[in-house]
């Protein structure tokens, strides 16, 4: 049995050059849940040729990961392929016996998972985990050969000191390095196909770029076909020749990447392309020379963007009256990190940071993880004490505020945090959540508070019936709206948005950004917008501070930063935006 398959495989391989390596036909996948049977993937067709790269793009819940994991029979929980065929290299993987499929996994189809933090076994050393892969796929045998091979695999994946690091454990590696290890494991037996499930979405953009570049080089050298799963249209366009757009378990559009992005046909794809901030920002840039900003017409850019640019100019004009509504001077924050025993380490999270935010404008604070941007947010919110320097809001220095004064200050500056799942108390109904600021500050009676809650819900475009719901019933975007409503309840002057849209799907993200922009022009709000995503900055910010390792490395208006970045680091960040280099066809 095995011998016949082996021989047929090799002949097939020769015969099939140029033919599809992977072909999925009419795939249906269902999950059994408490509420019955749910179809997660419906009638998906796709085909991937030898040496090609194909990206499946979609938002969370679109079925893109489910489709990918079904190829190697790794569907989570109760998931099951109910019908359809998955042809890989002449074999239908759906009907293949488990033992044969296990043989294909790793050896012929490699897999790079999404979250580098949770995908390595925490109790086994890195070397062990690479070596067992090599042994299981019979890439090498014998202790020494396996070890040598493991070192080579890790070196190829970009860990130059691999031989020294074999004995280390995952928790001693950074996220980027873990992802390199996982890529090394995925490619260790030079598979014909690599499935990369959002391989870099948990990493910083510059790290992401380096790793993806590296992955591209390796797969090109090995002639590996790549199946990319991503939510990021820009990344997909940049890295894949072919694109499959999925929506609610179905393929809505597929074809050559360039063509789809330049000429999206399905309304959903059109929406996605219009909302992708990286692409939009590139468009604005490519057609506007810095001197003639005002010459933009609605047909050049999406109408939303044009409107935003117009609004930004109005705000800038208004802002010149109150240049330093928020004034941050020489702000420094030092943490003492206990190192066990009596040692402690001083960590300068924020180092001599200064900037001003004119009233009614948006200042974006951009940086990668560990840049200190979120700490600045906490200092401005007075959630952490200032080590040295000052933060003044409307002329009032806030560092020394105590008791009643601090309590009053809190009415003026409000936060919206990143994690839509963590920023609302799951035990509080939506109504109670939004009313909390009002009860805390003793504003109005029950009835008037209730009325204000309804008003706020309308302001953030949520139905009034949401008032009795609980956070666990709402989507990420809806929760974030509620967080915005809570922040607005006290009619603040300033809202600090700490990665407020980062965890959202791109369409929802666009909606929230629109909402924030509308609220700003309506209520004259001043935003401090903390983000790692420069692409989003383009859409909302008037001024930008780029932070790196606690310091502000560049400070300028948004236009200047995007058209004429002065610092190499800013340029790196801009370069690293997925899709930034993508050139549109038409």
């Amino acid at each position: 049995m095995t011998t016949t398959t082996e021989t047929s495989t090799t002949t097939n391989f020769e015969a099939q050059k140029g033919k599809p390596l992977l072909e999925i036909k009419g795939l249906n996948i269902g999950f059994k849940t408490q509420n019955g049977y749910v179809e997660a993937v419906r009638g998906v067709d796709l085909s991937l040729g030898q040496g090609e790269t194909l990206a499946i793009v979609g938002e969370s819940g679109s079925g893109k990961s489910t489709t990918a994991t079904s190829i190697i029979d790794l569907l989570p929980g109760t998931g099951k392929v109910t019908s359809g065929e998955i042809w890989f290299d002449g074999k239908n993987l759906v009907t293949l016996p488990k033992a044969e499929l296990s043989d294909i996994r790793g050896r012929e189809i490699g897999y790079v998972p999404q979250d580098p933090m949770s995908n390595l076994d925490p109790v086994l050393s890195i070397g062990w985990q690479v070596e067992e892969t090599i042994r299981a796929n019979r890439v090498a045998t014998g202790r020494k050969e396996v070890r040598a091979h493991a070192i080579q695999v890790l070196k190829d994946a970009g860990l130059s000191d691999a031989d020294k690091r074999l004995k280390q454990y995952p928790h001693q590696f950074s996220g980027g390095m873990r992802q390199r290890v996982l890529i090394g494991i995925g490619l260790s037996s030079r598979p014909k196909l690599l499935i990369a499930d959002e391989p870099t979405s948990a990493l910083d953009v510059t790290v992401q770029r380096r790793i993806l570049d590296h992955l591209e080089t390796l797969t090109r050298d090995y002639g590996t076909s790549v199946l990319f799963i991503t939510h990021d249209l820009g990344l997909a366009a940049e890295r894949a020749e072919k694109l499959v757009v999925m929506y609610k378990g179905r393929v809505v559009e597929s074809g050559p990447s360039q063509e789809i992005l330049a000429n999206p046909q399905h309304p959903y794809t059109q929406r996605l392309v219009a909302a992708a901030p990286s692409l939009a920002s590139r468009r604005i840039q490519s057609q506007i020379s810095p001197s003639v900003t005002h010459g933009v017409t609605v047909s050049d850019v999406g109408s939303d963007d044009a409107l935003r640019i117009e609004q930004a100019h109005e705000r800038e004009a208004a802002a010149s009256k109150a240049k330093d509504f928020i004034k941050v001077e020489n702000l420094t924050k030092v943490y003492n990190i206990r190192q066990g025993g009596f040692k402690s380490l001083e960590l300068k999270a924020v180092d001599d940071v200064s900037f001003e935010i004119p009233r009614g404008t948006t200042m974006a604070l951009v940086g990668e993880s560990g840049s200190g941007k979120s700490t600045v947010a906490k200092l401005v919110l007075q959630l952490e004490s200032i080590t040295s320097g000052t933060v003044a809001v409307d002329g009032q220095s806030i560092g020394a505020l105590k008791g009643r004064e601090l309590f009053d200050f809190r009415r003026r500056v409000q936060p919206v945090f990143q994690d839509p799942y963590g920023s609302l108390d799951p035990m509080y109904s939506v109504g109670n959540t939004i009313a909390e600021p009002l009860t805390t500050h003793n504003i109005g009676d029950r009835a008037s508070r209730q009325a204000r809650v309804r008003e706020l819900l309308e302001q953030v475009s949520l139905p009034v019936s949401t008032i009795n719901r609980y956070p666990n019933e709402l989507s990420g975007g809806q929760r974030q709206r509620i967080a915005v409503a809570r922040a607005l309840a006290l009619k603040p002057d300033v809202i600090v948005l700490d990665e407020a849209v980062s965890a959202l799907d791109v369409l929802v993200q666009g909606q929230i950004l629109n909402l924030l922009t509308d609220l700003q022009s309506e209520l004259g709000l001043t935003y401090l917008f903390i983000t790692h995503d420069l692409a989003v900055v383009r859409l909302v910010a008037d001024n930008v501070c780029v932070m790196q390792k606690g310091k502000v490395v560049e400070r300028a208006t948004t236009d200047e930063v995007f058209s004429n970045p002065e610092q190499a680091y800013t340029r790196d960040l801009l370069e690293a935006i997925p899709g930034a280099n993508f050139q549109f066809g038409a």
């Binding site: 072919k242 559009e253 000429n263 936060p415 108390d425 805390t440 139905p463």
Partner: protein
């Protein structure tokens, strides 16, 4: 294939719009009734037969403990040596003890002592554990350091072992003293659990958001942190009610639990052991009653844990 513009290349596929209608981005589903996490938990519990079985048993046991007269009309203490270790007969369905007392009557009356110890010990140790654990975890610093070290000390003495030492020195033992002494050695487990849960609940964004609103620190603890940290403690409390009942019976079995004059299941098992070879029934019945009681609370604990932990619910 849908009608596609002619400039599209051959492999550019566009789905039929009617087959893939697009919905409004992120609309609220208004068709379902609002549900809090408690509603979810209740619905999860309600759907499990184990919940109803253990719930009915627990209610029955509590009823027996409060109104023994409803279930039994025979004296539990009057002894007739003619009936010593007598077999069951009409009106005395479980037979007699060595002293000739009615086993069934003692079973009914003894429920109160066992249950009292279990409930009191659980209440005391849960309340102490919650308060100490919450304060230590929330305020941290020296308070946490001191409380954690003290907790370590109590934790290093196994509950029943500690109780044995102290019980040997206490002459007048009542259900309350037994409960207090068990709770003294058992609170650190609750406190540790609570402390951990409070620390993770206090690090959430909603706590930070409330701080930024100007809500006072203590109010945040009471209104946000504790309600979100209490679930694991509820589970522990349900299960430990059962284990306290076992602990009491073990102490009584050793002769240092409730005094011999108190009618309790543990005491009855203890006094029946001598005659095990000839008359196993007087030992068996209270043992069965004890086990069913403990089992009910354990099952309830399981159901509650599954209901309060959405992860466990999904896994089932």
């Amino acid at each position: 294939m849908p009608s596609s513009p002619s400039q599209l290349s051959a492999d550019h596929f566009v789905a039929d719009l009617e087959e893939t209608p697009i919905r409004a981005v992120d609309a609220v589903d208004e068709s379902e009734k609002p549900r809090s996490s408690w509603t979810d938990a209740w619905e999860s519990m309600r759907s499990r037969p184990l919940f109803w079985i253990s719930g009915v048993l627990i209610l029955l046991i509590i009823a027996v403990a409060i109104f023994p007269g409803v279930f039994n009309h025979v004296s539990a203490t009057s002894a007739n040596l003619n009936n010593s270790n007598g077999s069951p007969r009409a009106g005395h369905i479980m037979g007699f003890t060595y002293q000739g007392q009615d086993v069934y009557a003692r079973l009914i009356v003894g429920a109160r002592a066992s249950l009292t110890v279990g409930i009191l010990a659980t209440l005391i140790c849960t309340v102490i554990g919650i308060i100490i654990g919450a304060l230590a975890g929330y305020y941290g610093g020296w308070l946490d350091a001191v409380v954690s070290r003290i907790g370590d000390i109590f934790f290093s003495i196994p509950t029943v072992l500690g109780a044995i030492v102290i019980m040997t020195t206490i002459p007048n033992r009542t259900p309350l003293t037994v409960a207090v002494i068990l709770a003294i050695f058992a609170w650190p487990q609750v406190a540790r659990q609570m402390r951990g849960a409070v620390i993770s609940a206090a690090a959430t964004d909603y706590v930070m958001a409330s701080t930024a609103l100007g809500v006072s620190r203590f109010r945040i603890l009471i209104r946000h942190v504790v309600p979100n940290a209490i679930n694991p403690v509820i589970v522990i409390a349900t299960v430990s009610l059962g284990t306290f009942i076992v602990a009491e019976s073990t102490l009584s079995f050793l002769g240092i639990g409730l005094p011999g004059t108190t009618i309790s299941w543990g005491n009855d098992i203890s006094s029946a052991q001598t005659y095990l070879r000839t008359a196993p029934l007087p030992l068996l019945w209270p043992a069965v009653a004890l086990s069913i009681t403990v089992l009910s609370f354990l099952m309830m604990g399981d159901v509650v844990r599954d209901a309060l932990d959405p992860k466990a619910r999904a896994r089932r």
